[in-house]
Amino acid sequence: MTNITPTGTNDTGLSSIRWAVSDVLTLARRDLLALFRIPTAIVFAMIQPIMFVLLFRYVFGGVIRVPGGQYVNYLIPGILVQTVIFGAVGTAIGLAEDLQRGLIERFKALPMARMAVLGGRTIADMFRNVMVLVIITAVGFAVGFRPHGGFLHYIAACLIMLLFAYCLSWGFAFIGLVAPNSEAAQAMTFPLIFPMVFASVIFVPLQGLPWWLRGFAHNQPISQTAIAVRGLMNGTAIGNSAWVSLAWALGLIAFLAPLAVNRFRKVA
């Protein structure tokens, strides 16, 4: 067969970076469009955290004692962290669905950046998390949440947890590409997420946990993120928790992103 000269741009150096960015944005836009077109998906994503807010604020909250302040101010930052982390499950489900429907196969045969499908998906999911943060913050205010840390600290807290959740979502991208279908992908994420979210200081202060769990519960990355977020929002001391969270985030993405991209190359 005779050679065919490839048409289009020569993807080297700068232009290849420019195209990679363009590919990521194209795919992120696709995922966001889908998000807005299935309003039920957003509603369901919101129901769970709102139920948690109501449950802990009005049912369990009465018996949980937190040092120096209102439980609601302790609770809402925790719920925010929990919700953005649960949001990463969506990354796994979305990729598993794309794989099931043959879309990944189509994307792999296109002359686009290899990491664009994963980059687009994780970025779209981060935008969804931004929306979630806004809504849960509003719900929090409605049930009496009064953060005293100031606006800029609030934003800093949001950025810390968004970054942590974003880095973690690359691990969930890997799960989505390993799972045989989207239901399995969802099921596979729970055993990973539940112990991390509940054996933590998200809902209950350290003193409320059994002694043998405290070491883990205090030092694990989700707790450290929650401590940083809560301290910044409420204007209390955060120690080095923000740096610990940041270090975990960068460590996670350095390990998880190559894992997910490598899996993407192999999967069909």
């Binding site: 050679n3 048409t7 469009l33 196969e105 045969a109 002359p111 069909a268």
Partner: protein, 328 residues
């Protein structure tokens, strides 16, 4: 496009999906890969379209090596996979435009090309409807349109008509023929002998990852016999008696399943008339007589002596056998 000694294993080498397959696909025509589910057709398409790497062997598409120059290959190919891979939550137009952008076409070009294709494929009035509202045939057309956005000179179509109704199938065939007239090279996989016969100049038949026959459609047909004669009797005893009477009408022994005999014959209606005369003369009551075109099962029975595996048959579409009533 060619593939030389391709081997692809899965599960750490335990399963050989492709076992030493060599193909040479001439430019500007439809080349067919025929085989049942699990025979390795899709794996071959995935290797040639750079979706999967081969375990052994090498392949070039448009003159580019699929492993060493995948980026170049991707710029000269279009792939329409098995599942009508369209994004259900995007409109028809958005689906095509997205593929255009991902092909790194200029924005305005991607948009005009998407509109052109929607008109060409009769989807214009549904351009702004979400793909999830499309019928099966419309999805397939959109999927094929997506593979054509960048005007690739080489096209991979993996079972493009599986699950389609006869009218949609005819429509898609006409589109594919039009593309080939325009100079496109097409590698098509199919489970339908009829489809391979209609579209493909040259064919390869795959079974368990190996090539078991190749040649033009006419060559394969003459190997197979043109028609299958299906006779149904009242009882297995009658069927057994009839075997002796009609066996010489075919070069192959009849396939018997209970009260039904199937015989591959070359003379179609004339052979049917012969069979009818002999059976009648012997006083055996015939419950049914049918002539049909050979199905993939018949091909396999003829080429390998075994039917396509039972577990695979379950996955296969129900309308695989194209039936035709005898008008002899």
């Amino acid at each position: 496009m060619e593939a030389v000694n391709i081997v692809r294993t899965f599960n750490d080498g335990k399963f050989r999906a492709l076992d030493d397959v060599t193909l040479r696909v001439p430019t500007g025509q439809v080349f067919g890969l025929l085989g049942p589910n699990g025979s390795g057709k899709t794996t071959m398409v995935r290797i040639l379209s750079t979706v999967l790497n081969p375990s052994e062997g090498h392949a070039t598409v448009g003159g580019f090596d699929v492993v060493k120059q995948p980026g170049h290959v991707r710029r000269v190919i279009g792939l329409a996979g098995q599942f009508a891979a369209v994004d259900e939550n995007l409109t028809g137009f958005e689906n095509l435009r997205m593929v255009g952008f991902l092909n790194h076409m200029e924005k305005s070009r991607a948009i005009t090309r998407s509109r052109e294709l929607l008109i060409e494929f009769g989807l214009h009035e549904f351009s702004n409807k979400l793909a999830k509202t499309y019928s099966g045939g419309m999805r397939r057309r959109l999927d094929l349109a997506a593979a054509l956005v960048a005007d690739p000179p080489i096209l991979f179509l993996d079972e493009p008509t599986t699950g389609l109704d006869p009218q949609s199938r005819q429509d898609l065939w006409a589109i594919i023929e039009g593309l080939v007239e325009g100079g496109t090279t097409v590698l098509l996989t199919t489970q339908y002998l009829e489809e391979a016969d209609r579209l493909c100049k040259q064919l390869v038949v795959l079974d368990h990852g190996k090539i078991i026959a190749e040649g033009t459609s006419a060559e394969l047909k003459s190997q197979l016999g043109n028609t299958v004669l299906v006779l149904t009797f009242n009882s297995t005893t009658d069927a057994q008696r009839a075997i002796g009477l009609i066996a010489d009408l075919s070069s192959k022994p009849p396939n018997e399943e209970g009260t039904v005999l199937e015989l591959t014959v070359n003379r179609g209606p004339a052979s049917a008339a012969d069979a009818l005369r002999r059976i009648d003369a012997a006083g055996i009551i015939l419950m049914g007589l049918q002539l049909r075109e050979p199905s993939l099962d018949d091909v396999f029975l003829n080429l390998t002596g075994h039917k396509t595996d039972e577990d695979r048959l379950e996955e296969a579409p129900l309308d695989r056998r194209v039936k035709r009533t005898a008008k002899a």
